[in-house]
């Protein structure tokens, strides 16, 4: 593998970029591995990476039905944050943010984690009270947070609607300075390269068609490229978790919806932070390339069609223009949709599936990208040791039976 550095880039520049080597191999599947990870998105690749790196388990295959990073990893709006209310959520997501903070160096791959802050606005006095509750919770949880007045919000984001006739005037905001955005593809590619280097087989165009079981225990998978055995199987198939569960013979507390994302033509830098306006249900940032990247709530119709639905597009784009009126004249370049698996409390499921040997990392809803490092780390820990990591324990499937839901929207009003 080529080590990446400014020096190497310079040298390759001089010799016509001819010395670069593949970022990952294209191996054929072997008949057996110690661990199979189904799903070559961020979470699956990160799981494989940490299995190899933290636990020394290298006979690992990541099976991806299409191209790696082609699901929600390559379709999201790239926000990274840990501005959570409940200690369980804050601990998990902040673990992720901390891994992100060192990820480019860890992977020797620039994932462009840009900590330009993540701001959640308040649009009434009641909102401000809730924002205060949220802000204090974050501080107590050890998360960096700032409470901003309306004037401070205006100074940072002059684009926001401060007109007298604004439908949802800005009363203030809570910001997490360490929040920001990352380059989504780079996260998948960086983990893939790192895992591959450590011996993991990343097998693309390999769709899992069935879960093989013996005496109730998962023992392998049937795929479009043959049968593959392993006594530990991890499923990281955001958008298809229920489909996989059906293959294995159980049901999950999940509904699948399309979540849409939008990007405008590039414009000169005009927005230097990530902004979420709950009253509009819309969040927005500007990419390094200059595109205004934004999104909103889920589509209203359960769906596995990876595309947008027009009424929700109208809601989200219309909301953005009302939120930032100057953007009315900016042009929409592209919009797309991904399928997200939404749990009743909008928190993820990490843990045993109920079928012995089959482990789950799913249900991240709209917020899986920011959790990739933590999700991979936790699943790797679980599969390597057979035990939950302390941080993942609260997110076990059993919470739906015990009633111990972790519903952020319940307390904070902040959508996932």
């Amino acid at each position: 593998m080529s080590h990446y550095s400014a020096f190497r880039l310079f040298r390759e520049g001089l010799r016509g970029q001819k010395g670069w080597t593949p970022a990952w191999r294209m191996p054929a599947p072997k008949p057996e591995y110690d661990v199979i990870i189904i799903g070559g998105g961020g979470h699956g690749l990160a799981t494989a990476y940490y299995l190899a790196k933290q636990h020394g388990i290298k006979r690992v295959a990541v099976l991806e039905k299409g191209w790696l990073g082609g699901g929600n990893t390559g379709r999201n709006t790239t926000a990274i944050r840990s501005n959570y209310f409940y200690p369980e959520s804050a601990a998990l997501y902040d673990f992720s943010v901390r891994l992100y903070e060192g990820l480019s160096r860890d992977l020797n791959y620039n994932v462009m984690f840009s900590q330009r802050g993540m701001m959640v606005t308040a649009h009434s006095e009641h909102d401000l009270e809730m924002a205060t509750r949220q802000y204090n919770a974050m501080r107590i949880n050890g998360i960096d947070a700032e409470m901003l007045t309306a004037a401070e919000v205006r100074a940072r984001v002059p684009l926001l609607n401060f007109r007298a006739d604004a439908r949802h005037p800005i009363h203030g905001a809570v910001s997490q300075p360490r929040g920001g955005t990352g380059r989504h593809d780079a996260v998948a590619w960086g983990y893939a390269r790192g895992a591959d280097t450590r011996g993991v087989d990343i097998i693309q165009n390999c769709e899992v068609l069935g879960i093989q079981k013996e005496a109730g225990r998962a023992t392998g998978v049937t795929t479009t490229r043959g049968d593959i055995r392993a006594d530990r199987i991890g499923a990281t198939v955001a958008g298809h978790s229920s489909v996989l569960a059906e293959l294995a013979g159980f049901k999950l507390p999940i509904h699948s919806y399309a979540l849409q994302a939008f990007v405008s033509e590039p414009i000169k830098p005009i927005l230097d932070t990530v902004v979420l306006c709950p009253a509009f249900g819309t969040y927005v940032s500007q990419s390094d390339k200059g595109g205004i990247v934004f999104g909103g709530g889920l589509d209203r119709i359960p769906s596995y069609g990876q595309r947008g639905n027009m009424p929700v597009q109208e809601d989200v784009v219309g909301a953005l223009v009302e939120m930032m009126p100057a953007l009315a004249k900016v042009k929409l370049l592209r919009h797309w949709g991904g399928i997200v698996d939404v749990t009743p409390d909008s928190s993820p499921i990490i843990g045993p599936s109920g079928v012995e040997g089959l482990y789950l990392n799913c249900g991240w809803g709209t917020g899986g990208f920011k959790a990739i490092p933590a999700g991979g780390y936790m699943l790797a820990h679980l599969m390597a040791t057979g035990q939950h990591h302390d941080l993942s324990r609260p997110f076990d499937l059993d919470r739906f039976t015990t009633g111990r839901l972790i519903d952020e929207s319940a307390a904070s009003g902040i959508a996932h």
Partner: protein, 87 residues
Amino acid sequence: MQIFPCPFCGPRDEREFHFAGEAGKTRPDTTGEVSPDDWATYLHMHRNEKGRTREVWVHTPCAEMFIMERNSVTMEVLGTECLRAKS
């Protein structure tokens, strides 16, 4: 924009409808013993099919609930019927 046929009002804009859950769930008799697992299954577990689905929907203007079969990938509507006929 999808068009759903309300069994009472005919074809209408999707924005007039709300998804109300998968069809065929029966509430356990809570005057008797209901195990935690059975309750969790009733409350939270879904088929969430990819492809042909059978779901309960509400048409907001007329407030009627009905059953709709549709394809969750192509969005094709395969048919609707009154919930009442099935209850």
